[in-house]
């Protein structure tokens, strides 16, 4: 206890630690890529298959395990994350002796999750977030989590660090990149859907768990899992809240990926409008590309463009959610909350997220160009994914099925999603019709 008091908050508090851990990884990735100094890539399983799979990118396991680069990257990933998180835990005043074996155990489970989620059949519809939750839940609800593994279960810490790393991929220049049409379809609709679901959830359905309502609202209107992760951290949602939201989003994404292109084709909507509708309403980016492709090449392009802007909105929305919760939701009485109090409550890792985004947008991008930023992000994306896999595995290990059932609030949460998503589809359709049908504005060209 005395140990923590000696270390300033900037080094010992989880929120600040997430910032400097994220920035350490960003800095090393920048040096590695921009100076072409060394290979800093994290390990990633290529798609493999139990049976015979027709896809071109399937790499047999023997080939993957027989590759020296795989083991080197595995060692780098384990070493970098293990060292940084252990150092942070030490500065938090916790036992390093207990954390190290626990982290090794958690990393091994996370590796198993990534291995499972790279299988050809399993990764078509469900990827790492689902498998991480499932593996964690299976362990915790059957054999139970051993005591020695518990010190590594630090869900929020891994999420916050992953989000700071993710900030580097959010480029401000993208706001202009897609023009008024893109902004109109996403930025007009998205906040309205969030507000509608907030009103529906808190005022009509009377769900008292406000972090759950906002997490579900942003997952519905922005981009599913990633938005849920960011907002859950910003609103300090419980682990079970995030589990419920991600599960609902995953299930409906599968349905919408299949049925939305069918309906769009049946009503005779053109590719530009259909693709934009898909981009604005289907949660996961992968499902957006697949559903857009089902309609045709122009629909695919429009769908991806709209979804790309939505992906960019995550940081802004998480920032304002954090402010709103610090100033309005966490307020215990009617007195006005002063700046000092807001600062105290504000989740500091959001600052790290924005700082990473600003540095990428206004420093690295003008100095080194878009190709180099993309190259850095390719490295960072895997570290971000590793942080999130560690987080979701931790959630599974720390949650029981009863708790999840309780968070459904007798089905209210499910209806909130269904009604909210329906509203999202209707409103996006209206925006798409208004902007892209030619009734009010000239139809844009995709160059």
């Amino acid at each position: 206890m005395e140990n923590t008091k000696k270390v300033p908050d900037f080094w010992s508090k989880e929120d600040w630690q997430a910032c400097w851990l994220g920035f350490t990884i960003i800095l090393i990735a920048c040096i590695a890529v921009l100076a072409k100094a060394f290979d800093f890539s994290a390990v990633k399983f290529a798609t493999w298959s139990v049976g015979e799979a027709g896809a071109s990118n399937v790499v047999p396991l023997s080939e993957q395990f027989g590759n020296f680069a795989f083991w080197r990257k595995l060692l780098v990933t384990f070493g970098v994350l293990g060292f940084l998180f252990t150092l942070a835990v030490k500065l938090q005043g916790e036992s390093v002796k207990k954390y190290i074996p626990a982290f090794i155990g958690l990393f091994f489970i996370a590796l198993l999750v990534r291995f499972i989620s790279a299988e050809f059949t399993l990764n078509r519809y469900l990827e790492w977030a689902f498998w991480a939750l499932l593996v964690g839940l299976l362990i915790s609800n059957t054999v139970g989590v051993p005591q020695w593994l518990k010190p590594a279960i630090k869900t929020e810490f891994y999420i916050k660090t992953g989000l700071v790393i993710m900030g580097f991929s959010v480029l401000f220049s993208n706001i202009a990149r897609f023009g008024l049409y893109g902004l109109g379809i996403t930025w007009i609709v998205t906040p309205i859907v969030i507000l509608f679901m907030w009103w529906l959830g808190t005022k009509v359905l009377k769900i008292d768990n406000k972090p759950l309502v906002i997490t579900l609202s942003t997952a519905t209107s922005v981009c599913g899992t990633s938005a849920a992760i960011a907002t859950a951290a910003a609103s300090k949602a419980k682990k079970a809240d995030l589990t419920v939201v991600v599960s609902i989003s995953i299930i409906f994404t599968v349905l919408m990926m299949v049925f939305e292109p069918m309906i769009i084709r049946a009503i005779g909507m053109n590719q530009l409008m259909g693709g934009s509708l898909i981009g604005g309403t289907i949660d996961s980016t992968g499902a957006v590309v697949v559903a857009g492709t089902a309609l045709g090449p122009e629909a695919q392009t429009a769908a991806v463009l709209v979804k790309s802007i939505q992906n960019m909105l995550i940081g802004f929305i998480a920032f304002f959610v954090a402010i709103f919760f610090a100033t309005h939701v966490e307020k215990t009485n009617d007195r006005k909350v002063g700046p000092a109090e807001i600062w105290y409550r504000f989740p500091k890792f959001i600052i790290g997220f924005f700082a990473a985004s600003l540095i990428a947008s206004f420093l690295i991008l003008p100095l080194f160009g878009a190709d180099q930023v993309d190259a850095v992000n390719k490295v960072l994306d895997q570290y971000k994914n590793w942080c999130f896999v560690l987080a979701f595995t931790s959630i599974g290990l720390d949650t029981n099925f009863k708790e999840i059932a309780r968070q459904m609030q007798g089905g209210k949460v499910f209806w909130l999603y269904v009604i909210g998503q329906t509203f999202n589809i209707v409103l996006t359709f209206f925006a798409v019709w208004l902007l892209l049908s030619g009734v009010l504005f000239p139809i844009p060209t995709l160059s």
């Binding site: 990827e127 202009a176 906040p191 005022k203 599968v254 089902a294 392009t301």
Partner: protein, 90 residues
Amino acid sequence: MNKKIISRILTWIFIGAVLSVCLYIMANGLGLQPELDFGAGAYYYADIPDFDQYTEKARFQARLPYWVYLILFLAWGALMYAAWKWIDKK
């Protein structure tokens, strides 16, 4: 009381139906594109192999200066934030 029970039953029937359809889709590989090596499981763009190819070739044409978009973006965001506070207070 009866109304509550009926609504619960209907909710669980609906959830069951949604899950069944979802499982049927996954079991039969519906909705996938043979030329794409990923599906709904790629939650974020970074999970999609070579995502650049989908964004670099095309874009909506932007005719106005960057700052116009930025102002519109921030103004709408500020308006929505004010509306959120109002809804929550109400």
